[in-house]
Subunit: 140 residues, 2 copies
């Protein structure tokens, strides 16, 4: 976990951003966390690693991580401000409605569906969002 949060820091560095104690704390908090976290939640957790951290820096760091596609926003009925480590390639989210655990899955084949909808509606379909909700092995 700590091993690969280094990779995020490297990414930041390679893109001209500096590596600071504040950013380390944020990155260490979000990286590899299987729950989506809001900026405030990141702030609270990251301040345990680096007390002087400011909430503004959390916002700014999350912004950069999102820009580099290292994290992504999670849309939920309760709100859409939470972030999680980004999936790789064409992956979708699976969320536990009980504990909030997030997993990725891939292997959705929506070609037949999109073709049929394109035909029916006349739209040229370019993208899709798919998200599953359920109960994880612990919660069910």
């Amino acid at each position: 976990m700590s091993i690969s949060s280094e990779a995020w820091l490297e990414q930041l560095h390679e893109n001209g951003y500096r590596i600071t104690a504040a950013r380390r704390a944020v990155v260490d908090t979000v990286f590899g966390n299987s729950h989506a976290l809001t900026p405030i939640e990141v702030y609270d957790a990251a301040r345990k690693k680096y007390r002087a951290l400011g909430l503004v820096t959390v916002y700014r760091t999350l912004e950069k991580l999102e820009e580099l596609h290292l994290i992504q926003r999670v849309h939920q009925p309760i709100g859409c401000q939470a972030f999680i480590s980004a999936g790789h390639g064409h992956q979708h989210l699976l969320l536990c409605q009980q504990c909030g655990q997030v997993e990725f899955f891939e292997g959705d084949d929506l070609d037949a569906l999109t073709k049929s909808i394109a035909k029916k509606t006349g739209y040229q379909i370019q993208e899709h969002w798919l998200q599953l909700f359920g109960l994880c092995t612990n919660c069910k």
Copy 2:
């Protein structure tokens, strides 16, 4: 359009809410509109029908319409505060990335997919969100 926005007012009435000029203006604005509207957009548009309307009343009316499942929130990359007339039964959204037009479609069969994901992950899957993005016939 005006015909059936009456049905929404009836729904409100049947649920113990009063029918007022302010609510008529909001309902007439959102009902049958093929674009998702934010509270401010509803306010601006509805004030053309009823100048004394307050933004607070827009929020309160949207809240009630959502509660009665007459409208639903639309999630988009740019934000998730916009509302549109709700779909009926099991329907999903198709959005035009150019003009913002929203359409519904149905007939997605994700049974095979959810079964396979359930098997792979151990999750008990209860719900799914699916949304398509593309270009409508006018914009493509």
